[in-house]
């Protein structure tokens, strides 16, 4: 289990007397922004990957950038690891506390500082909820485009850390395409202003590097995001197919046809029946797969695009095509999709969500392959995912109460990710590597590439204190668990480089 930090293959730090840590943090934070009791720290012991849990040594709740800096200084001076945490909705264990370390929550840094409709930007603190930005921008006819399913709860700081996507990123891009500037505090004690409201900045593209760096490089204390005009018209189409294969073919054909829908989602039979029972979205229960396709733009263009999509779906074998008649029906179709994960509770007490991305042309074969792997492991898998991006979310259904089932689910998940890599894809499209996919990183990257990541990390954080044991596996870990097949004791390339 990856929730145990393993001294042989994960970073370790000399122990620090908990009383000393408490006293040092107490000197820089008021008592109501510092949690030291086991009871009080329980809510922070896991993120949304709830199978992984561990207790930190302290939870810090800074309320401004100077308190963030002060906590970072304490960690630097005492050599204590620090894990940043947004809203805790992450699915890869990225906010799993390092045992005995400091967990920094951004719950108190939750103000929208400015919305400017002329520059179409918003300046926000990292703890602001994703959806709150769009709500604040709405009176100006603007919205913040990236919309992860958890947007009600997830924070923009977490979105930056994970380079979050969402159902509309096919057309509107990921977080990295929708942010302009960051204020970053480093563990070495510097405040960096990265990016600007201009469209580029001198030097290397640190915005790109920081985005998606999972809290390993620095702590973001302020974010300037780009706002997008709300599209004139939105059309939402539901297409039902007799097989996942034909639905997957339709997806490839839509993109190949030069159409860029605002969203293109797919659910297989198992997923759509659970979602229907849960959300009463109006999905056809006899279908083996559905696509939800959204086209937006000027009315006639959205109509044209919708008509082309319908035609392509029909040609690919769709048995039923239905366009939402009004906003209420559109909201219902999406409620089913966004409720698909919780709906899985109907089939099994637990599910394990996988996040591989593959070239769209491989969708039919990979979905078939996932079905075969699931049967071989004796577990059911439901598929509900961002088909237009080729971003799969197989949900492995299991019962943690049954001995060995979680381990089987993890093995199956690893096999699915390796299948994604083998067709030219990636182990994570939007959930991040976190703690969960460390071992699969060894499959996707060579030892030299992982060493380059480690060197980049060390350029920001030479002592390796920020979110240790996440995102980038150590080479010994790859030797032990991953596909690298390097062995401990063997001469590693660049033995001078720090490992973490």
């Amino acid at each position: 289990m990856l929730d145990r930090f393993d001294p042989d293959v994960d970073p370790t730090f000399p122990p620090v007397d908990p009383r000393r840590l408490a006293a040092a943090l107490g000197a820089v934070l008021p008592p109501d922004r510092l949690i030291l009791t086991t009871e009080g720290m329980r809510p922070y012991e896991a993120d949304a990957l709830a199978a992984y849990r561990s207790l930190p040594g302290a939870v810090a709740l800074p309320a401004d950038a100077s308190e963030v800096r002060a906590v970072l200084r304490v960690c630097r001076e005492l050599g204590v690891p620090l894990v940043p945490r947004g809203a805790g909705t992450g699915l890869s264990g990225g906010a799993l506390p390092y045992p005995g370390g400091v967990l920094m929550s951004f719950g108190k840094l939750s103000r929208i500082l400015a919305i400017d409709p002329v520059t179409r930007t918003a300046r926000v603190q990292p703890g602001v909820r994703n959806l709150a930005i769009s709500e604040a921008a709405q009176p100006h006819g603007l919205f913040y485009a990236p919309d992860p399913s958890s947007q009600l709860a997830c924070s923009i700081g977490g979105n930056v850390a994970e380079n979050a996507g969402g159902v509309h990123c096919l057309k509107y891009g990921l977080t990295v395409h929708n942010i302009l500037a960051l204020q970053v505090e480093t563990i070495t004690g510097e405040t960096l202003h990265i990016g600007s409201e201009a469209l580029d900045a001198p030097g290397f593209d640190l915005m790109a590097l920081m985005t998606g760096s999972e809290g390993l490089l620095g702590v973001v204390t302020e974010i300037t995001v780009r706002l997008t005009p709300i599209p004139a018209e939105i059309r939402t189409l539901l297409a039902a197919f007799p097989s996942t294969r034909s639905a997957a073919q339709a997806v490839a054909d839509i993109i190949a046809g030069g159409v860029t829908p605002a969203g293109l989602e797919m659910m297989d039979g198992l997923a759509l029946r659970a979602a229907e029972a849960y959300a009463h979205a109006g999905y056809p229960l006899d279908a083996e797969a559905i696509l939800i396709c959204e086209c937006d733009g000027e009315g006639a263009d959205a109509d044209d695009e919708t008509a082309r999509v319908a035609e392509i779906c029909r040609a690919a074998g769709a048995v039923q095509i239905h366009q939402a008649k009004d906003e209420g029906e559109r909201a219902r179709l999406w409620a089913g999709r966004k409720g698909a994960f919780p709906a899985m509770g109907r089939y099994a007490p637990d599910y394990y969500c996988i996040d591989g991305t593959i070239p769209r042309r491989c969708l039919p074969d990979v979905l078939t392959g996932i079905g075969d792997l699931a049967r071989a492991h004796g577990l059911a898998v439901a598929n509900v995912f961002h088909a237009g991006d080729g971003n799969l979310h197989p949900l492995i259904l299991y019962d943690a109460g049954k001995p060995g089932e979680l381990a089987t689910a993890e093995t199956l998940g690893g096999a699915i990710l390796e299948l994604c890599v083998s067709v030219g894809g990636t182990i994570t499209g939007e959930h991040g590597v976190g703690r969960e996919k460390l071992n699969q990183m060894c499959v996707q990257f060579t030892a030299a590439e992982l060493a380059a990541f480690a060197a980049i990390k060390a350029a920001f954080d030479p002592a390796g204190l920020l979110n240790p044991g996440k995102n980038i596996p150590s080479l010994p870990r790859c030797a032990e668990f991953g596909g690298l097949h390097v062995h401990r004791g063997q001469v590693m390339p660049h033995a001078d480089l720090p490992r973490f």
Partner: protein
């Protein structure tokens, strides 16, 4: 379907060997593609590392909207291939001559007229294969749009001017050509034009280019029939030739004559023009302003910074002049550590971006 094409000009091994031997003796390398952007950045005193022979489209899957090509592949070659399939490079890299290569375009990170509307060069880069400063071939990213495994080292290469790695191969997201394009010209002076645009861009509209030549505002519209028609009706103005936008891209406009000094100011599009000299034109809806000025570089940079942006000496009279806005000390130190992480011997294009890098 994907097809493997022109696999016969892969110079990875030879190039890696050149980097390895240069690193051993700490001999600087000057990375050269088509040589069309040699004026951009500071001169590098080093042995040339020639990429032009490392060429060929490795993969183009029109249905996947992905193209992978070696760094030395001429842009013209790539664009011709894409055009056959009704596709294009969304970042519309500016051309400074027919020899321009894909690797050079990505390393320079210069985006064309669509920049404010569709994104930067790095937004279209899905993955890269590079040689680091030790001569190791590394792959970052891949061929899918959503990919958050590891750090975004592939986006980092765009605009790094070769200082963090020798780009060997780039995987790109390509763009379907829009169904409809139109060009219009509006008789608006620079400042009223910027104000007018700011207002127009608050609502969805299919603008794909907004350039002011000092006298008139040129707009390009790209999108669906209805969206473009609605914008044409709403904006009025006179119809202009679409070829104007090709000329801009080819830098055949007199403004881009290789006279120095030419300054490029990257500013928030909504700020008034800083007092720095002759504003000859603006592009990117006002976010990129071209200035001819003999004022001291420091004064121009200070004014750009106060306006919320930065200034680049795009064409310099004295090649060794500092070209890019100096970095804050902490940011520069971080740049140096990053450079040392990927190029410990400091052999890759040293000094091209900053003397300290």
């Amino acid at each position: 379907m994907a097809a493997v094409l022109e696999a016969d000009t892969d110079l990875t091994e030879a190039l890696a060997e050149q980097v390895r031997s240069a690193a051993e003796v700490r001999r600087p390398l000057r990375i050269v593609g088509g040589g069309t952007k040699a004026f951009y950045g500071r001169p590098v005193d080093g042995a040339p590392l020639e990429l032009a022979g490392h060429r060929g489209i490795v993969m183009h899957d029109p249905s996947e909207l992905v193209l992978i090509a070696r760094a030395g592949t001429p842009l013209a070659h790539i664009e011709a291939r894409l055009a056959e399939h009704g596709q294009m490079l969304g970042f519309e890299p500016p051309l400074f001559g027919s020899a321009g290569t894909l690797g050079g375009a990505v390393a320079a990170g210069l985006a064309g007229q669509r920049r404010p509307f569709v994104g930067a060069v790095r937004d279209f880069v899905l993955g890269v294969k590079i040689l680091d400063g030790r001569g190791q071939a590394l792959r970052f990213g891949g061929q899918v749009f959503k990919n958050v495994a590891g750090f975004d080292a592939f986006r980092l290469m765009a605009g790094a001017l070769g200082g963090l790695g020798v780009i060997l191969e780039v995987s790109l997201r390509v763009t379907p050509r829009p169904p409809r394009e139109a060009a219009i010209v509006l008789d608006l002076a620079p400042e009223p034009a910027r104000a007018w645009l700011s207002e127009a861009l608050r609502r969805p509209c299919p603008v794909s280019g907004a350039y002011h030549d000092g006298t008139r505002l040129h707009l390009r519209l790209s999108g669906g029939e209805a969206g473009v028609a609605a914008a044409l009706a709403q904006f009025g103005g006179q119809t202009g030739p679409l070829a104007f936008w090709d000329d801009l891209r080819q830098r055949s406009h007199p403004m881009f004559a290789p006279d120095a000094p030419l300054w490029r100011l990257s500013l928030p599009r909504t700020v008034p023009p800083p007092d720095v000299g002759d504003l000859v034109a603006w592009d990117w809806a006002g976010a990129q302003r071209w200035v001819r000025s003999d004022r001291p570089a420091e004064a121009i940079r200070r004014a750009a910074a106060e306006a919320g942006g930065h200034a680049t000496l795009f064409r310099a009279a004295t090649p060794a002049d500092l070209r890019f806005q100096p970095l804050a000390p902490a940011v520069l130190a971080l740049h140096q550590r990053l450079k040392a992480a990927l190029d410990p011997a400091g052999v890759l294009n040293p000094g091209r971006m900053y003397p300290e890098l």
